[in-house]
C-alpha cells in the first residue's frame, strides 16, 4: 500500500480524487440512498407521514398469500408468450430486410427508431383510439367484412394488442441490434456454403441463425426485462383489465404505493419482481446462450 501511494504526489492524488468524487457523489445520492431506503421500506410499514415501523418479514410473507401477485405472475407469462416471439420475429425480419436495402438505409433505420423515442402516453392514446370499437380499424373491418374486433375488451386480445404496440415501439431498436449481428457474420462463410451447394433455407437455419445467437440472446434478455416493466400501455389503455388480465407488476406497485398508500409493500413487490426477472434472464442465458467464434 505504502509503495503504491508513494508513486503519486499529493497533487496527483488530489487530482485523482477530484475525478472520482463526482461519480461517487452521484452514486451515493441516486443509487446508494434509494437502495438503503428500499431495504428499510421492505422490512417496515410506512404511510408517508408516520415513522417507519419495523415488521420483519411480514411484507415478504404477504406476497406469498396475495392472489393478485399470482394473477400478475400468470399475466407476465402470458405477455412473454406473445411478446418474445412477436418481437424476435419482427425485428429479425426488419434486420434481414435492412441487409437487402441499397439506398436510404439510414433514413429507414431512423424512421423505425422514431417509435422508440416517442412518448408512451401519446402513442397509447393514439392506439387506444385507433383500435377502439368504432375506431378507423374496426370501421374498415366492418365495411369490408362486416366484423369488428374487440381489441382491448377481450382478455386475450387485449394482451395481444398491447404486445403489438410494444413490438411496434421496439422493432427499430431491437432490429438494429440484430442487424449489427448480421453484419458481423463473415461473408466468406456464406460464399463457402454456396459453393458447397447449400440452399437459402439451409444457409439461414445452419449459418445465419446459429451465428446470430449472441444478438438474439441480447434481444431476448432485453425483451424479458421489458415485459417485467410494462406499465404505460395497459395503465392508459386497459387500466389493467379486462378481468385483471393486463395488470402488470409495475401497475400493482404504483397502485399499492399511491392509491393504497402502502409504499412498503410496493417496495417489497418491486424487490421480488427484480429477483424473479433476474432469475429468468439467468435461465435463458444458461439454456440458450452459445459461444460463437468466427475464427
Amino acid at each position: 500500500m505504502l509503495q503504491v501511494s508513494s508513486k503519486f504526489g499529493k497533487k496527483e492524488r488530489l487530482f485523482g480524487y477530484s475525478l472520482v468524487l463526482p461519480y461517487l457523489a452521484y452514486t451515493a445520492i441516486f443509487w446508494g440512498y434509494p437502495f438503503v431506503w428500499m431495504v428499510v421500506l421492505a422490512f417496515t410499514k410506512w404511510n408517508y407521514f408516520s415513522k417507519p415501523k419495523f415488521i420483519g418479514l411480514q411484507n415478504f410473507l404477504r406476497i406469498l398469500t396475495d392472489s393478485t401477485v399470482l394473477r400478475i405472475a400468470l399475466n407476465t407469462l402470458n405477455f412473454l408468450a406473445y411478446l418474445i416471439p412477436m418481437v424476435l420475429t419482427a425485428s429479425l425480419l426488419f434486420a434481414l430486410a435492412l441487409t437487402k436495402v441499397r439506398f436510404g438505409k439510414t433514413f429507414i433505420m431512423l424512421s423505425f427508431l422514431v417509435a422508440n423515442v416517442s412518448s408512451g402516453v401519446a402513442y397509447s392514446l393514439l392506439f387506444s383510439n385507433l383500435f377502439s370499437i368504432n375506431g378507423p380499424i374496426n370501421r374498415l373491418l366492418d365495411d369490408l367484412f362486416g366484423i369488428t374486433i374487440p381489441w382491448f375488451s377481450n382478455p386475450q386480445l387485449a394482451v395481444f394488442s398491447i404486445c403489438l404496440i410494444i413490438t411496434w415501439k421496439f422493432i427499430g431498436y431491437y432490429g438494429l441490434i440484430l442487424y449489427a449481428g448480421l453484419l458481423s457474420i463473415p461473408q466468406s462463410l456464406y460464399e463457402a456454403a454456396e459453393l458447397d451447394g447449400a440452399t437459402k433455407s439451409q444457409i439461414f437455419w445452419k449459418i445465419t441463425l446459429p451465428l446470430l445467437n449472441p444478438s438474439l440472446i441480447t434481444v431476448t434478455v432485453l425483451a424479458v426485462m421489458l415485459t417485467f416493466g410494462i406499465f404505460t400501455e395497459p395503465y392508459l389503455i386497459t387500466g389493467g383489465g379486462p378481468m385483471q388480465r393486463t395488470i402488470t407488476f409495475l401497475i400493482y406497485m404504483y397502485d399499492t404505493a399511491f392509491k393504497r398508500i402502502d409504499p412498503s409493500y410496493a417496495t417489497t413487490v418491486a424487490i421480488v419482481t427484480a429477483l424473479v426477472s433476474y432469475l429468468l434472464v439467468m435461465l435463458i442465458r444458461k439454456f440458450f446462450e452459445k459461444e460463437v467464434s468466427f475464427v
Binding site: Y48, T238, P242, M243, F258, I261
Partner: protein
C-alpha cells in the same frame, strides 16, 4: 406628500414581501379553474398579507394519485379542492389533513352562514370535520329526446322492463345500443353505475355498512340489479366499448352524467342539447311509482393539509369565499354544479338558475342524492367490484347471482 407616498410604498412593499404565500390546487376542469381564478384574484387584491397561488391539480390518472404523489414527494399544496369523502377518510387516517373543528366557533359560523349543517354531518370522519364540501352533484340520466320521440315515446323509460321494451325497438347490437349501462373500468366508475343503481333501487340505502364492516348489496335488490346489467349485455343492448361520444352521435339513447358535462355539451354539441330529456337512474319493475327515486351524489370538498404553512390564513380565505352567497352564485354560473348548501331551492339568490332546464333538473335531485360510503378502503372496494362484479357481468362469465355472491364474499374479506 412625497414622503407620505414613499412611506406608503414601503408599507405596501413590506406587506407583500412578508406576505404568507399559499398554494391552492383546484380540480383539472376549465370551468372550476375559471371560478377559482376569479375569486382568488379578488382576494389577492384585497389581502396583500395572504397571497394565494392557484394551480390545477397536475395531470395524472386521477386527482387522488396526483395528490398522493405530491404528499410522498413532499410537494403537497397548502390546501386543495376536488377531494371525495373516501379519499378524505384515507388522508385523515394517515394524518395528512387538518381537522377544521380546530378553528372552533369560526368554523361553526361558516357552516351556519352557508346553510350546510346537515350536509356537514354526512362528512364526519371519526367524529371530526376534515372536509369543507363545495358541491353536490346528483347523477342523472340524459336521454336523446329526439330519437325517443321518433320511437313514439313522450317520456324516458324508468324501469328495467320499460328499458328492455325500448331496447327491442331500437338496439341492433352492432351500431345501435340502448344505453351506457357500465361507466368504465376505473374504480371511481362504480359510483356511476352499480352504486347509483343500488341507491335508486333501495331508496338510498348504504351499499356498505361502514360500522359493521360488511357489504349490504348482496340482497334481493342487488340480485335484481346484476340481472338487469347481465340482461343488457347478454342481449347486446349495451356494449363494453361504445366508442367516442356515443350519446351525441346517436349510438346510444341514454347515459348517466353529472352537471359538469352541461357547459361542454352546450359548446360542443349545440344541436343535440335542446333535445335532451332527463330521468332518474333505472329501477326494478316493482319499485313504487309514488316514491322518489334516489341517486348517487358526486360530492367533492376542500381540505387543508397538515403541512400547510399557515392554516389559519388558508381558513380565512375559505371562510371569505363561502360565507358570501354571491360566490356560490358565481360558482353555478361558471360550473353549472349545485353548491353543497341546503337552501338552493329557497334562497332568492339562486332563483334565476331555475329557468335553466339542466340546473333545474339537477337541483331537483339534490335532496335525493346520497354521497358515497365514508370508508378509507374505497379504492380497494371499488376495484374489487370492478374485477369481481362488473367485469364478469360485462363478459357474461357465470350466472348473475353467483357473480354477485362471489363479489360480496371478496369485498367482505377486504372490509374485515
Amino acid at each position: 406628500m412625497k414622503r407620505i407616498f414613499v412611506l406608503f410604498l414601503i408599507a405596501v412593499l413590506s406587506l407583500v414581501s412578508f406576505a404568507v404565500k399559499l398554494t391552492f390546487w383546484t380540480a383539472p376542469n376549465a370551468f372550476q379553474e375559471e371560478f377559482w381564478k376569479t375569486v382568488v384574484a379578488q382576494w389577492n387584491k384585497m389581502r396583500p398579507d395572504i397571497q394565494i397561488e392557484v394551480q390545477t391539480i397536475p395531470a395524472a390518472g386521477s386527482s387522488e394519485e396526483a395528490i398522493l404523489s405530491a404528499i410522498a414527494a413532499g410537494n403537497a399544496p397548502d390546501f386543495s379542492e376536488n377531494i371525495f369523502s373516501g379519499f378524505a377518510a384515507q388522508l385523515a387516517e394517515i394524518g395528512a389533513i387538518y381537522p377544521l373543528d380546530n378553528f372552533g366557533t369560526d368554523f361553526q359560523r361558516l357552516v351556519e352562514a352557508r346553510k350546510m349543517k346537515n350536509i356537514m354531518e354526512t362528512w364526519k370522519i371519526k367524529g371530526k370535520y376534515y372536509v369543507f364540501p363545495i358541491y353536490s352533484n346528483p347523477m342523472i340520466f340524459w336521454w336523446r329526446g329526439d330519437i325517443l320521440k321518433s320511437l313514439g315515446y313522450n317520456e324516458p323509460p324508468q324501469t328495467y322492463g320499460e328499458i328492455y321494451e325500448l331496447s327491442k325497438k331500437f338496439a341492433d347490437g352492432k351500431k345501435k345500443f340502448t344505453m351506457q349501462v357500465i361507466s368504465g373500468r376505473n374504480w371511481w366508475d362504480r359510483w356511476f353505475d352499480f352504486i347509483t343503481y343500488y341507491y335508486a333501487a333501495t331508496g338510498g340505502k348504504p351499499y356498505i355498512d361502514v360500522e359493521k364492516r360488511k357489504v349490504n348489496f348482496g340482497d334481493e335488490t342487488g340480485k335484481a340489479i346484476v340481472q338487469f346489467i347481465y340482461t343488457m349485455f347478454q342481449n347486446k343492448w349495451t356494449a363494453v366499448e361504445l366508442g367516442t361520444n356515443p350519446f351525441y352521435n346517436g349510438t346510444i339513447l341514454a347515459k348517466i352524467t353529472g352537471p359538469w358535462e352541461v357547459n361542454w355539451a352546450k359548446e360542443t354539441f349545440p344541436k343535440v342539447v335542446p333535445n335532451i330529456w332527463f330521468s332518474a337512474p333505472p329501477v326494478p319493475d316493482n319499485y313504487p311509482k309514488d316514491k322518489p327515486i334516489y341517486t348517487f351524489a358526486d360530492t367533492k370538498g376542500l381540505v387543508i393539509y397538515s403541512t400547510c404553512k399557515d392554516k389559519r390564513a388558508a381558513f380565512e380565505f375559505i371562510s371569505w369565499v363561502f360565507s358570501n352567497v354571491q360566490n356560490d352564485v358565481l360558482w353555478i354560473e361558471k360550473t353549472q354544479m349545485p353548491p353543497a348548501r341546503e337552501d338552493l331551492t329557497t334562497n332568492p339568490a339562486f332563483a334565476k338558475f331555475m329557468n335553466d332546464k339542466f340546473f333545474k333538473a339537477y337541483a331537483s335531485f339534490v335532496p335525493y342524492a346520497v354521497p358515497p360510503a365514508l370508508t378509507d378502503k374505497t379504492i380497494d372496494i371499488q376495484q374489487s367490484m370492478t374485477t369481481n362484479l362488473i367485469e364478469p357481468l360485462m363478459y357474461l362469465k357465470g350466472k348473475p347471482e353467483d357473480i354477485l355472491n362471489k363479489a360480496v364474499k371478496e369485498i367482505n374479506k377486504l372490509l374485515f
